[in-house]
């Protein structure tokens, strides 16, 4: 390595006017959202999969798992399942951040943006914002189907919406993680594989589908304390009430843990993604 002293260019984050960042973020978010408006089939595809999951899990596993679910679920597996499934779907949705960015990288679009005097991080803030809104739309459509096949929250509308809020907060945090991964891996196909390698263990070794207590004892510590479970517990507590929790847990307790996770993930992943972005280029 010669002359490393002239390499610091990726560091000085040219101070950007805050208004400029907001404006450029919106320009970028609008670009990304227009994709779904113009190509509605993309949105349709991203909705079909979650709804398929919802129906399959409810009707295929519902009978078998029913006995293990906490009474707060009102005796219906779907009541237990939906908060967890929302977390899963929002996490799957967040992977789109990685896919979208690698696509932009591969097509040279990122090079174009990086050569412009715009707020550089706006490419990422705009992308994560657009993905958050898309995720919200997907979740809303899922609720529709869930209500139609019998889901009922056991708390209040406010509790239900608060649960949705936690899920979206998590989706946003994970979008930043996915952005960092996509920018680091660069190759679109490799990224697709990479993100799901990371996502699957977290989704399945969690409280999404079954109570953690039904898992082998070596797996329980991980399943109990990883962020996906934290989100699921918070969403369940807010939608089903404290009866959905294990003894010793409180609704406010699990909600605080979930929020701390989201903030911590974002605080680490967002600056990291921006750092990698500054050095990303097609060639």
């Amino acid at each position: 390595m010669t002359a490393t002293e002239v390499r610091p260019a990726d560091s000085p984050p040219a101070e950007v006017h805050p208004g400029r960042l907001g404006r450029d973020t919106w320009v970028m978010a609008r670009r990304n959202l227009l994709r779904y408006v113009r190509l509605p089939q993309l949105l349709a595809f991203s909705v079909i999969q979650p709804i398929m999951f919802l129906l399959l899990f409810t009707y295929v596993f519902g009978g078998a798992i029913g006995a293990a679910i906490p009474p707060a679920a009102g005796g219906k597996y779907i009541n237990f399942l939906l908060p967890g499934l929302l977390v899963q779907i929002s996490l799957f949705g967040a992977t789109q951040t990685a896919i979208g960015l690698t696509d932009d990288l591969a097509r040279g679009v990122v090079d174009r943006f990086r050569s412009l005097p715009m707020a550089r991080s706006a490419v990422l803030t705009g992308r994560t914002l657009a993905d958050l809104l898309r995720n919200a739309v997907v979740l809303a459509l899922m609720f529709g189907v869930a209500f139609a096949i019998g889901f009922r929250y056991q708390t209040s509308l406010l509790g239900f919406l608060a649960g949705v809020g936690i899920v979206l907060l998590f989706a946003y945090a994970m979008s930043w993680v996915m952005a960092a991964i996509g920018l680091k891996v660069v190759n679109p196909e490799a990224t697709q594989t990479a993100v799901f390698l990371i996502v699957f263990p977290f989704v399945f070794a969690s409280a999404v589908f079954v109570p953690v207590q039904t898992m082998p004892s070596w797996l329980q510590p991980f399943a109990e304390h990883q962020p996906v479970t934290a989100m699921v517990q918070a969403a369940r507590a807010l939608m089903l009430g404290s009866g959905a929790l294990e003894p010793g847990q409180t609704v406010s307790g699990v909600v605080v843990v979930a929020i701390v996770w989201c903030v911590a993930i974002t605080a680490v992943a967002a600056p990291l993604a921006v750092r990698i972005y500054r050095r990303s280029t097609r060639t």
């Binding site: 002239v6 260019a9 715009m118 706006a122 280029t281």
Partner: protein
């Protein structure tokens, strides 16, 4: 022209792992000119453009655009430049107008101004009729023009064009050439890379031949050809004058080729050799039937400079930089 050059690059080194993409590249571009960077795939053209447009940070060396350092004042540099990359970076689902206006907004224009300028450049690039159609339906040449239009909406002082006509049809290529000339007439400086000798010959005021990460030769098209020193004189005389002519030409060079009254021999002093030849023939009373001066083609120059087969394929030292982000 006492004005400072708009681009100055000195001894730029940049390696991707073991591949030295740039190996001491230096470059100087005067305002209002077209600089053609000529080289095969893997010679370092795109890497150099990427350094100048602040996308890559060199391992060593310094470069400035409009007096601003590309490393420490990269943001100021980005305000001065427009970049049209090797592939039209155009979103299929956006219309031409949306694409150009979006880039305008990202240059800091307000929406109304961005739309106004978008209409201007689209008109100029012959895309006014297609402005409200999605780019998905554009032809290859139209996409290139749209990409170029987008890179100009911010009215950059200097435009970087990375292989602007690679992979498009000949008609569109002429369109792009015309547009580049118009830009220069308006005072924009252009740095273009190309693998096509003809393109450099047509457009560039100054040509830099880049090979293995450094500029190996630089000059106008004519200077490069002269530098090769292989100009030739072609002379045709009456059969009765052949002997007299032979005596004259022998004094010039011993590598004279003679075939049926037609002479062909090197002219190491270029035009000077030709004038001297005319005088000498006049002295002995030989009147040429035909006399012409031939310059080597730029292809020959390129071959001599880089030892590469031609300007269109992959050279022997091609080491495409992996699209990877280092460290």
């Amino acid at each position: 022209m006492a004005e400072a050059p708009i681009v100055e690059a000195q001894d730029i080194h940049l390696a991707f792992g073991d591949v030295k993409a740039l190996n001491g590249a230096s470059l100087c571009i005067e305002r209002g000119t077209v600089y053609g960077l000529l080289g095969v795939n893997g010679a370092g053209k795109t890497t150099l453009i990427n350094v100048l447009s602040t996308l890559l940070v060199p391992d060593s060396g310094r470069a400035s655009v409009g007096g601003d350092d590309v490393i420490t004042q990269s943001r100021a540099v980005r305000r001065r430049i427009g970049l049209a990359g090797q592939f039209a970076a155009v979103d299929d689902y956006l219309t031409g107008r949306e694409t150009v206006a979006m880039i305008g907004e990202l240059y800091g224009l307000n929406r109304a101004e961005a739309l106004r300028r978008a209409a201007d450049v689209l008109e100029r690039f012959n895309l006014a009729d297609a402005a409200d159609r999605r780019a998905a339906g554009y032809s290859g040449g139209m996409r290139r023009r749209l990409d170029l239009a987008a890179s100009l909406v911010g009215r950059p002082e200097i435009l970087f064009l990375d292989e602007p006509t690679t992979g498009i049809d000949p008609g569109s290529r002429l369109d792009i050439w015309r547009l580049v000339r118009e830009l220069v007439d308006d005072g924009t400086t252009v740095l273009l890379t190309t693998q096509y000798l003809e393109e450099a010959d047509e457009l560039a005021d100054l040509i830099g031949v880049i090979d293995q990460g450094r500029i190996v030769s630089e000059g106008t098209s004519d200077e490069l050809k002269d530098a090769l020193g292989d100009n030739r004189i072609h002379l045709r005389v009456r059969e009765s004058d052949i002997d007299a002519t032979l005596r004259v030409t022998e004094g010039f060079d011993d590598r004279v080729e003679l075939a049926g009254g037609e002479f062909n021999f090197p002219a190491p002093n270029g035009m000077g050799s030709l004038t001297a030849m005319v005088r000498a023939l006049d002295d002995v009373g030989v009147e040429p039937l035909g006399l012409s001066f031939e310059r080597p083609s730029l292809d020959e120059v390129f071959l001599a400079l880089t030892g590469s087969e031609d300007g269109s394929g992959n050279g022997p030292h091609v080491a495409p930089a992996e699209p990877q982000e280092s460290r």
